[in-house]
């Protein structure tokens, strides 16, 4: 196990370094830079809500029907880089050789991206629906509610993704080992 951990550490460090770099990029990124996340999320939210949005570089996607704004703060970027870390950890842990370990990082980025789009769309959709239903609560509690919905949705998807991926990888790993 110690040997395995020793082999994994450089990849964990690379992932951590990439995570810090990506997090730093976010501080300077504009809506235009995050187009790759915002566009699909907005398209899916639009399809689910039957709403059309208007895009502007400084404001993001504005859905007039619902008076909501999808901008860089709602791009799912943080979720993406967090799920990237989680996936990297799992992929590296259950990799058999160096080639697989190297492939883990780009794979984790892609898997995280897909999960982020899915989870973020769900989060926004659920948030809009619930906030419409509970319009009797005052404005100050809306933010709190929004946060609670966001954490619950994201955490659930992240946990499910972790458990599911781990189970799949575990089976493959042991099958490969004892085959």
């Amino acid at each position: 196990m110690r040997t395995l951990l020793g082999k994994d550490v450089p990849f964990h460090l690379i992932a951590l370094g990439l995570f810090i770099a990506l997090k730093f990029f976010f501080t300077i990124a504009s809506n235009d830079h995050l187009f790759f996340l915002l566009k699909p999320t907005d398209a899916l939210v639009g399809v689910m809500l039957g709403s059309q949005s208007v895009y502007s570089s400084d404001a993001g996607y504005f859905h007039e029907n619902f008076n909501i704004l999808i901008d860089r703060s709602c791009s799912g970027y943080n979720f993406w880089i967090l799920s990237f870390l989680v996936f990297t950890y799992l992929f590296v842990k259950y990799s058999e050789d160096l080639k697989h370990r190297i492939l883990s990082i780009p794979l984790a980025l892609m898997a995280g991206y897909a999960l982020a789009i899915f989870s973020n769309t769900s989060r926004i959709f659920v948030s809009i629906i619930i906030q419409k239903k509970v319009d009797f609560i005052d404005d100050s509690h809306h933010d709190l509610l929004h946060q609670v919905i966001g954490i619950t949705t994201n955490l659930t998807f992240l946990m499910l993704a972790y458990i599911l991926t781990e189970n799949i990888l575990k089976r493959k790993f042991y099958h490969a080992k004892f085959a």
Partner: protein
Amino acid sequence: MRSLLNPKWLFLINTIPVVIFIGLCYYQYSVIKPSLGVDHLNAWNVFWFALGSLATLNFGYVVYLFKEKQGVSIGYSFIALTCYIAFIFWNLSEPRRLIPSQVPAGIEKIDIVTYVGTFLMPTLLYSIVVLVLRFTPENKKHKAAPSFLATLAVPVLVFLFVQIILPLCHNIEGEYFDNALMVCFIAAILAFVFFFIRGVFILATNKKSFFLEYQLLWKPPLVIIGPIIGLLINNGYLPGLFHGQSSGPFGDFSSKWFYILAFINGLLLCLSNKENKWYRLFLFIGRVALFIFTLYFFIIFLPFLPLGIMLIVFFGIGLLILVPIGLFLIHVAALVRDFEFLKRYFSKPLIFISFSFSLFIIPISVTTSYLYDRIVIREALDYVCSPDYSVRVDIDRSSLRSTLDAIVGHAQQRRRREEFLYSKAPFISTYFNWIVLDNRTISSDKVARLEKVFFNDFTADSDRRNPDDVSNVRITDVDKSTKYDSTQMVWKTWVDIELTNLSSSRFLSEYKTTIQLTEGCWISDYYLFVGDRKEFGILAEKKSAMWIYSRILNQRRDPGILYYLSGNKVEFRVFPFTQNEVRRTGIEFIHKEPLKVIIDGITIELGAEDQSQQAVIESEDFIYISPKEKNKLQSINRTPYFHFIVNASENQKERIEDFTGRIEQFCKMYPKLSNNAKVSLVNSYVSEFDLESDWRSAYSNHLFEGGFFVDMAIRSTIVNAYRAKSDSYPVIVLVSDSIENAIWEKDFSDLQFAFPDSDFFYVLGKGGEKKKHSLFNNPTEALEFEEDSCMFCDSVLRYECNDGSVAYLKDNKEPSLILKKDFFTLNESDIKDKSWYSALAMKAKWNSQMLHPENTDEEWLGMVRASFTTKIMTPVTSYLVVETEEQKEMLRAKQEQVLSGSRMDGLDNETIRMSEPGFIILGILLIILLRLRDRLILRRS
């Protein structure tokens, strides 16, 4: 200790700080890049290449060590010391190389010297520690004394070298010699630190150490007395170094909290480690809570470590610089011992929770305090700059004082020194700027206004300028051409002006005058001849245009500018004029009725015969009444009543009897006006009472603090009277010994439409002396007070709207504008290019804004955009002629910055952002859940 050779430490100590350092530098670089010249850009390229190479090589080495499962080697330490010292030296030798002095003052600048030290010094220290470990092998016995002797020998040798050998080399000069000296000096520093750490290391690993047995002898001087003396010296309280200076060399640590925390921290570290589990748990919590304090000073002083040796040689107090580093080592050792003890009695999760909870006590306290300050400064700015006249606010003066001190950066000079961590303390100030001010700067004008309003402090008042130089530039010719636009049924008149500098002086002159427009007349174009070229004006956002104009003025290039001062007054400036120079300029006016405009004392008639067919123009939100229609309206006299505005500001308590007497006497003179009269007690706030109520007891119990905020009092009186729409109107009477120290922003022309009855207010001065002042033109200047039979009997015109409401209009021959609603939003379909009706709608919107300044942030951008669309100048825009393409580009960039800055601020409050939750909380929850899951699985299995 030997585990320090594990490459993970190199990753933590080098890679992470360097990545953060690169991030901070990149942020700085992106901000200042537009201001950099070629040399500085090249320097930045060198910087990126060097730092990038160092970071990459270091990271590659870490990965290699992990792969090969080896510890950090001696070779690495030598190479790292050489490379990083060279890099640090390159940065420190010329700090302006990367951030030049010409970077504008408003741009946030990092302290590159401190940052280089903070983020790279750990690598140097680590390299020395690696050398110590490698040169002190485990399998041999070592004595500490030789190392300590060598430590002492270094400063002694340096001293002898400086005193004996250096004077002998006075003939040798040159860059080579200087560099050789520098290398020797750095080598001496490294030797000093190496031997010092080695000595401490040998002592710490020796179980029968004298230091371990007699801790109470050496600990209190090092952990209690040392830090406090260090703070006292830094803050200039001890004679000698830095005595009497406003801020110490290492930062401003003058707050009493630094001393209190230093004492408690030292005390906790000196307390004996008894074998009682509850005692040790509480001791652990206390020590963890104050570890942030120790860590802070460790980080601050780490870059100054090399300075320690120099100060030991020259001043003997350099040891104090080493105190924070010693304190840090002792603190870490104490925490490790506590943890080792506690884990025998408590579960690890409990210790971990105690640790996490205690560690954040100080950061959370500071953050909470800053968040509160953030709320207070915003409330104060809203109150002073865009008040809601219907809401009473109460600002926490002590929080505001601290924030202003931090902004102005001269906390030391203030009387109040007890606030917690507000001065220019390294890192804390940056954190403060980020939390409280969002890293923005508050203009000095706004700071001066807050100082005046809340602290009656006029020292920072930038309005008190010297009177402008008298210019000898005069209008020598005026020509006009009028066209009637039959589609819009409005006049467009170009007024061409010839300006001549009649001055015999060889200095450059500026032309400056005020144009008084009438209602329904706006400026729709402007030009200025620059040489032989006719340059048309650019309509720009007002703040950007004025900023550019002032910059061009300093460069002595050709600008011309037009902007609204207040009400319908427009400032017109052209620069520069050489001796006897003649320049030509022109302004286009758009107007409905023929009218007269006075420019620099010359009356110019605009338009020909009255062709307007529409006497009244009515929309959903406003009504325009032409002079023709006004002629038909009934002239009435509304009932006047006194509204006394009493100076109840700082130091005015002893004037209670006097001021009350003046009011009573004035009421006796004009008994009719004392019916329904009102009294406002004015300091920073306005407290209004009926004269018939028990206002005297409120007056005697009043809190006399802050400035005499007359501007707010008069504005709220006018707005409240306008909203009441009654058949009476207030006669404003100021009761104060002097109005010079009252707080005025500008005149009240912007509210002229809301106060049609009178142009004046009155002052009951010393000894009951009565003076008259104009509300709409230089309010601080006293006019002659003449008592006649028709005092306070001004007439107004009564207009009945279709919905039955009544509006009162100024009884004059000029058009008037009535607001049907107090507040409305501009209809975008009304806004068209060069449209007079659009200008009317914008003016109505501006008037509405004057009644509701609290909506300025939300409405401002819309008003700027509407003005851009119509190309007609409004109070939020300005016509500006610039000479060069570079100036036009500068204007465009500044305008973009101003507009984008406020655009996000001004985003509709009700629009919901679908922000994702913070990833830290998500990460923590995920880890907790996964841990719980693992435990569950373990239990089941």
